[in-house]
Symmetry: C2
């Protein structure tokens, strides 16, 4: 795509809107995990389902994996992959506390924000690192911005589940 | 915003990507409600929480309300507002069946798609009907595209909750 086509006010505005939606979903997660005492998050979101601490670890691991996927470098916490991406809740032992995971959530998101702020519209429309240049030429929607659109919905989906804990916790 | 700034390949591509994400979330809901016998959707997504049929009615009512919000005309089913937007589940009596709501879901979404297909990039970046021209001049992100970004996340949030029924139903 030609640079003069990409660098225009409309494109910039829409990219900003997509990023604002991403940031808003991240903030919902941050706010949710700031609401109660840490032990509340050891509860399941519903009977027999994931605990809130597991979903937090899962969301940290997913955001951390954006670093290599977006071409920003290595993950900060690859050790989260086994307990929170490859394993269901309570099937891999780990010693992470809610406080640990909240700190990692903040660090990963701050690093992502720093990188995002440096990207130009043409970078957002460039390929992400899981698609080859050849495939990207055929499928130009497989760009960085699409990753953010997908991940925003993924976060919203888990936030919907976390909100079930909300009333649960209040009822205790 | 100048028309020559809006009508370019990059802007069109990003708008298409945002709409594809919206369509994908709608499809998840459609697929979910095509998976089981209708009586399964009378179950709660978790103990003491919303039933799946309520969430379906809720999502139909929310999408239906996009018609006036996007400036496409009146809602098809304003009667859904009371039981599914203004009332919590099981607090307003109604006689809608899962089959009724699935049909309304399809009709509303088809009508929205027809209208969406006619919009130009400049229409997507124009105000939605809940913001005045004066406020829109100060807050240009309050456009039609932003409504879709927000509603996509809203659907994803409820889809995350509906997915809890999934395993529940399988375990029955």
């Amino acid at each position: 795509m030609q640079a003069d086509s990409v660098n225009n006010a409309a494109t910039k505005q829409i990219i900003t809107q997509v990023l604002n939606a991403w940031t808003a979903e991240n903030k919902k997660v941050t706010d949710f995990f700031s609401k109660y005492a840490d032990d509340v998050y050891m509860q399941e979101i519903a009977e027999g389902r994931n605990r809130a601490i597991y979903l937090l670890g899962h969301l940290v691991a997913v955001n951390d994996a954006l670093l290599p996927l977006m071409g920003f470098g290595e993950r900060l916490y690859p050790e989260l992959e086994q307990p929170f991406l490859r394993s269901a809740d309570r099937t891999t032992e780990h010693s992470y506390t809610v406080a640990d995971l909240k700190q990692k959530w903040q660090e990963v998101n701050e690093l992502l924000s720093t990188h995002f702020a440096k990207l130009e519209p043409s970078d957002w429309l460039d390929r992400h690192m899981s698609v080859s240049p050849e495939d990207f030429a055929k499928e130009p929607h497989r760009n960085r911005l699409n990753v953010i659109l997908g991940r925003t919905n993924h976060q919203a989906s888990h936030m919907g589940q976390l909100n079930l804990l909300h009333k649960h916790a209040l009822a205790d």
